[in-house]
């Protein structure tokens, strides 16, 4: 391998690593706030990418029906709960968010002819369709089990993953899609060619990580989410709703997932089930960070990206094996270093 190849592989590795880092952050966030190991994280990547691809192919994306159906189900649950507690006053905002909003988004997607829109608007509409699925999944699958053990939540997460992959096949079909790059620009730094999409991925990831940092460190709502992760009872006693915190965590995870999907759709062909493997690599990064540390998780995920890229050159047949084997020394090191962690802390 000469320097040229090494730099090219490094560029690839960093691009993928940036995406894995975003997913690792989402996984850490969801786990910290709700104790859910969010296996379906990758499905949001696939849904984001395939929804954008549908718009560009002038098709109505299946995500639309999913959003309408999930919104309908959530509404039924919420109305039922409100009736039982005789508090119908709380129903209006729920219906607005779970029925009116999906209906409006559907109307725009069907009647707005998004194929003719500029790319940025297509991306926004894709996010608008996929992101609300996050809190809906939380409401339907995890909120009723909020006090369950980590293991039960993990089992439900696997089930949700399988359901979403199945639904993905149903609504998007088995063919893969690739979208045109955000920018056709290409330029040279030293001796290597850098393409525009790589720059897009890196810059967008950095901006997203930066905004997450500002949100968690500078705003009271962000601090409230962190507080919920640190001490649920303490947070509740301050009037912070753990249900809302869970929904916000899932919404951020869905946003990060869908946005990652939109970013990588021009780089790699995405199928309905591609998200799982991508999410799993983010998961390896999150494990490096012990599912608690955001910076170590992000760094671990970038390492995963680089490892994957270089191993695809040296031993491409063993690429995935090498990446996932990374988890073994990390777990060994963690188990030697850490004490028992109370799962409720």
């Amino acid at each position: 391998m000469d320097l040229q190849v090494a730099l090219l592989l490094g560029q690839d590795g960093l691009t993928n690593g940036a995406i894995y880092a975003l997913l690792a952050l989402a996984l850490v966030l969801v786990f910290a706030v709700t104790r859910v190991v969010f296996i379906p994280q990758g499905e949001f990547v696939a849904f984001g990418a395939l929804t954008l691809a549908s718009f560009q192919a002038d098709k109505t994306p299946g995500t639309l029906w999913l959003l309408l159906a999930a919104g309908g189900l959530v509404s039924l649950f919420e109305v039922g709960a409100a009736l039982r507690r005789r508090k119908l006053g709380l129903v209006a905002p729920t219906l607005l968010w779970n029925l009116a909003y999906p209906a409006l988004a559907a109307a725009i997607a069907v009647l707005g002819h998004p194929v003719a829109w500029p790319l940025a608007f297509q991306v926004l509409l894709s996010l608008a369709l996929v992101v609300p699925l996050g809190p809906m999944v939380y409401r339907l699958a995890f909120q009723p089990l909020a006090e369950a053990s980590v293991l039960v939540l993990l089992i439900v997460a696997v089930a949700v993953h399988l359901v979403l992959v199945g639904l993905g096949l149903l609504i998007f079909g088995a063919e893969g899609s690739r979208t045109p790059p955000f920018s056709e620009a290409s330029f040279e730094i030293g001796s290597i060619a850098v393409n525009g999409q790589t720059v897009w991925v890196l810059v967008a990831s950095l901006v997203l990580v930066g905004s997450l940092f500002v949100f968690f460190d500078r705003t009271l709502r962000g601090k409230a989410l962190r507080a919920t992760a640190l001490n649920r009872t303490g947070a509740r006693l301050m009037g912070i709703s753990t249900v809302k915190a869970g929904k916000q965590a899932f919404m951020l995870a869905a946003l990060i997932g869908a946005f990652s999907g939109v970013l990588i759709a021009p780089i790699t062909t995405i199928y309905y089930d591609s998200g799982f493997l991508i999410g799993l690599k983010g998961f390896v990064g999150a494990i490096v960070g012990g599912l608690t540390s955001y910076p170590i998780a992000a760094a671990g995920a970038v390492l995963v990206g680089l490892l994957e890229s270089y191993s695809s050159f040296w031993a491409s047949a063993f690429k995935e094996v090498i990446v996932f084997t990374l988890i073994i020394p990390v777990l060994l090191w963690r188990s030697l270093k850490s004490q028992d962690i109370d799962e409720h802390q």
Binding site: R86, A227, L230, T233, G234, A235, R236, L237, M238, S241
Partner: protein
Amino acid sequence: MSGVAPVLEVRDLCAGYGRVEALHHVDLVVGSGQIVTVIGANGAGKTTLLSAIMGLVGRSRGSMFYEGVDESESELEKLVALGMILVPEKRELFGAMSVADNLLLGGYARHCQGYRDEAKSLVDEVFGIFPRLRERRLQASATLSGGERQMLALGRALMGKPKLLMLDEPSLGLAPLIVREIFLIIEKLRQKGVSILLVEQNARAALQLADYAYVLETGEVAMEGSACELAADPKMIASYLGLAGGQ
């Protein structure tokens, strides 16, 4: 407690953990601007009582009126927004976060209600009451001493502008000097018009401070009366104010 409008009125409260009932038919009233104390041995149900009032523990029976309104079905978030604030026995601070952030989060419910500009002046007020917290404001709360943690827990509760402040064993595990300081602050809060429901094992100190007292035994109210009356009650002296009762 005649003549004072009640802030909190609990009627026939039963509560517990799963099928195990730990509180049986408890009636309790906290008058506006009063300090009411609940005394009892370990395991008498004192903490369960406060947890059940806040809805942290399931209530199987009974009703609860706050400022004359039935809030039996209200969720914890709403009670906090109404000014019912609990400082739990375990403090439940956000350990990895700074003292300042812990305080700001104490004002979360007020922030959501639209009182966004008061946080800074309230933090200053809390620092005025607990100067030690000002020195430690950038320190992670997990690194504080026991007394400082209790001050932070109290300060964080004050950030929510409580109308009814519920304190669960504020003296637990603290040095006598700090306990005295904390009791002085409780007295000052009452003078400012905050109603206080104080759960204490230190019966003597609690009775000196309180206007009215309840004695809990195995989840039931065994005795109640004005604090002066109870302090002079022979049974009370024998069970709670003797050698085991205080300092």
